[in-house]
């Protein structure tokens, strides 16, 4: 069915940009917001507001602003009123290292609060070349549909033939139908069945995995979005931007990590994390495994890899596309990346990279976030071990390290069959319903399952998980290096320096130090999500941040320094907290605690044996963090802080004192 286009401006921001064909010509940006109301089958294109650009820059900034402004308070995440955003930043699609990010946003089905999730690949650049910085989906389609975008032509099309199909099967089918030059995002059957940790898949193996972003598409009856963009993005100074882009690549090439880190990608950190005793093991019971050389980056290269697979304009591709063969099945798949290795190889205890890769493939095809899925499964197996869940309730005996058990549970969750119906709501809800003490080892914060680092001797990293705005995720602040090596060195330098063998002393990191480490990292890393590019050149290789500020100024004509850009990132941090505070009932300090296991059960073995972080110490860390942030004792932003951050309209909400 064809939609129709209405070229109307509906924002009240009062733009003053130069106009081109009815839309502002904005250096660095595509210049338009594409809004689709699925209920009304209405397609509207709006100019990108100047004020939103000036105040929030792009990507995550646009997500934070639009979610706060456009979602009515108390909206059910799976209802028609929730919105789904696909955003890009001013640097997305430009000639610089790794400019291929897309940043999705919504009200989270996992936590009920702020949600965003981003992915690499080629979708974001295509959306910009098609002419759109932001895509907004609202309402709900009457039946399965997909969104077709071919530059100016935007249609809501039937997706009946793709429904019930796997994520990557769907992508292959749509590519066959539309052509190789379309960039496609899809959801799998899990998203259709409203599994709360469903993901988005793109380019046969890239995922926006966290916060249940895929289930929001499923709830709107949207199976896929296909984009072809053949336009151009205007630049402030083409010559300087191109020259600086070339220089930026040369700088990346000159970093030791270019040749050292790239071959294994994120999987290259596996041994280091295990050696420092931060490797999630058997549902985070302990933090060190003996089989890391069987599931590490080297194992991927030697046993799985067919080709490196790069995101748009990336010189250091972490995608390792390959083939795996196991007793449960064979598959082509991308990955596994570190998080999947640590959760399936450590927390679920799978013993070989082939088994980890197969679990990875199944999750990708069914449309499940590997991190949350593995966490829910590890919790289920521990419940079975402890007699909290029985063979009858689960449907079979399950065990850590047994691929058959893992495959069985993955399918159960994706189908929402039997116990899978409960597990599909996430480990927080499942443990609250099952009870019997299982909440203590349900490894999550705010309802989002924990990622790949065990932190009972890593106070900064623990605080990072506790205060991340989407729940227990590492990408807002990665400060394990501060805790384990006393430095903020890039990951390649950390890995090559190696880890001290043997027992580790209890970390001396104070609450104040942790608060400073975490808050700074929470501005740096999310800034990349604002700009619409990948942070790994900085984080893994040590590519200097000043390069980005220079590129930003040549591309946009806006001469903000890196420090000034960081101030915007800081403002966004307060806004995302304010959104969750507004949306989650009884939000506050109680939701910033990690599971009781980390306070009450010292690590039983490995390098960090005997260590834990008692509740009193956690409170000291939170006190210090809230003080740094200018939030009250319950972790709610104060009116004064919001005003000082330039969030006067947010400060007007009566809940902020």
């Amino acid at each position: 069915m064809n939609g129709y286009n209405k070229n109307v401006g509906t924002t009240g921001y009062g733009d003053s940009d130069k106009m081109d064909g009815g839309y502002p010509l904005i250096n660095g940006y595509a210049g338009k917001i594409l809004r689709i109301d699925l209920t009304k089958e209405e397609i509207v294109k709006e100019p990108l507001p100047k004020k939103m650009r000036d105040d929030f820059i792009g990507g995550r900034g646009f997500v934070a602003k639009m979610l706060f402004d456009e979602i009515p308070q108390g909206t059910d995440p799976l209802s028609e009123d929730n919105i789904f955003l696909a955003t890009t930043g001013p640097l997305t699609g430009h000639f610089l290292p790794a400019s291929g990010k897309t940043h999705f946003g919504t009200k989270s089905p996992s936590t009920g609060g702020y949600a965003d999730s981003n992915m690499g690949g080629h979708f974001g650049p295509a959306l910009k070349y098609a002419g759109y910085d932001v895509l907004v989906l609202k309402g709900k389609a009457k039946e399965p549909r997909y969104i077709f975008i071919d530059d100016d032509v935007v249609e809501i099309r039937s997706a009946q033939k793709y429904w019930n199909k796997g994520s990557m099967v769907t992508e292959e089918m749509i590519k066959k139908d539309l052509g190789e030059d379309f960039q496609i995002i899809t959801i799998g059957p899990a998203g259709e069945k409203h599994v709360k940790f469903s993901c988005i898949t793109h380019d046969f193996g890239r995922q926006a995995g966290r916060t249940g972003i895929g289930v929001v598409l499923g709830a709107k009856n949207i199976k896929a979005i296909a984009v072809r963009g053949t336009g151009s993005i205007p630049l402030f100074d083409v010559e300087k931007a191109y020259k600086k882009g070339k220089e930026a690549y040369q700088i990346v090439f000159s970093k030791p990590g270019f040749k050292g880190w790239t071959p294994q990608g994120t999987a290259g950190i596996t041994d280091w994390v295990n050696d420092v005793g931060a490797f999630p093991t058997k549902n985070f019971k302990t933090s060190h495994i003996e089989h890391s050389n069987n599931i590490n980056g080297e194992a991927i290269i030697n046993r799985l890899k067919i080709t490196d697979k790069g995101c748009f304009c990336c010189p250091t591709p972490c995608g390792k596309y390959g083939h795996t063969k196991t007793k449960s099945g064979d598959a082509y798949m991308e990955g596994p990346e570190f998080e999947t290795i640590s959760l399936f190889g450590g927390s679920c205890f799978l013993q070989t990279i082939e088994d980890v890769a197969y679990a990875n493939y199944l999750c990708d095809e069914l449309g499940l976030d590997t991190i949350s899925t593995a966490s829910v499964i590890a919790w289920t197996i521990e419940c079975f071990e402890k007699g909290i869940l029985t063979c009858e309730e689960i449907g079979k005996n399950v065990a850590f390290g047994d691929l058959e058990s893992i495959v069985y549970l993955i399918n159960l969750i994706a189908d929402r069959k039997g116990l899978g119906d409960l597990l599909a709501d996430g480990v927080k809800i499942a443990s609250e319903k099952i009870g019997k003490g299982s909440e203590k080892f349900a490894i999550h914060v705010k309802g989002l399952e924990w990622t790949g680092y065990e932190c009972r001797n890593a106070p900064s990293m623990m605080l990072a998980y506790m205060t991340a705005d989407i729940g227990a995720h590492h990408n807002r602040a990665w400060v394990l290096g501060h805790d384990m090596a006393g430095s903020a060195a890039n990951v390649h330098d950390l890995i090559t320096a190696g880890a001290c063998a043997g027992k580790r002393e209890k970390s001396a990191t104070t609450g104040e130090q942790a608060a400073i480490n975490v808050s700074k990292s929470q501005h740096t890393r999310p800034l990349f999500d604002v700009l619409g590019i990948c942070r790994l050149q900085l984080m893994e290789l040590g590519f200097e941040v000043e390069n980005y500020a220079e590129l930003y100024s040549y591309i946009t004509g806006d001469n903000k320094t890196w420090e000034e850009l960081m101030k915007v990132s800081e403002k966004i941090w307060h806004l995302t907290r304010a959104f969750s505070a507004r949306e989650i009932p009884d939000f506050g300090r109680a939701m910033d605690y990690p599971p009781l296991r980390f306070s009450e059960e010292p690590v039983p073995s490995g390098p960090n044996e005997g260590h834990s972080i008692p509740r009193k110490q956690l409170d000291g860390m939170l006190d210090a963090y809230y003080k740094v942030r200018g939030w009250d004792n319950n972790g709610i932003p104060t009116k004064e802080t919001l005003k000082s951050q330039g969030l006067e309209d947010v400060a007007l909400c009566s809940m902020f004192k």
Binding site: F95, E180, D181, V238, C311
Partner: protein, 142 residues
């Protein structure tokens, strides 16, 4: 001199296409790049680089001789002579006689080598005729 592709090195990042559009049209628009990357996924999981090796089939096909070889052995399309019959785009064995809605005529690689310089993987090289056996190189990498 001509371009050669080492497909096994390609990661599909597309830097080559973007640099091509910047070098030749001063614009950020990979669809104006004069080469293509094809991904063979999910199986067998490989990339193919389609680029102009100055084979001259376009010139042979052109009914008005709008495509001529220059002293450097590069086939150049004269836009003033071109009648936009698109015979060359159909004939190009590599599928890299390009078209774009912004242009009235087809356009092609002029061997500027921006792709060679920008490829982070060294997957595109410029070679003298016969001085390198790319097929052999690909086998060695594989």
């Amino acid at each position: 001199m001509k371009l050669s592709a080492i497909n096994e090195k390609c990661s599909g990042c597309g830097t080559c296409r973007l640099s091509c559009s910047l070098e030749n049209f001063s614009t950020v628009s990979p669809s104006k790049g004069m080469l293509k990357i094809e991904g063979l996924f999910p199986s067998p999981g490989k990339y193919l680089i389609h680029l102009c090796d100055q084979c001259g089939v376009c010139a042979e096909t052109c009914p008005v001789d709008a495509i001529q070889i220059n002293d450097a052995g590069v086939y150049i399309l004269n836009e003033d002579e071109c009648i936009s019959c698109m015979a060359c785009t159909d004939a190009c064995p590599k599928g890299v006689m390009m078209t774009h809605k912004d242009f009235n005529t087809p356009f092609k690689c002029i061997l500027c080598k921006a792709c060679v310089e920008s490829c982070p993987r060294d997957a595109i090289i410029s070679v003298e005729d016969g001085d390198i056996d790319v097929k052999k190189m690909e086998k060695e990498i594989a």
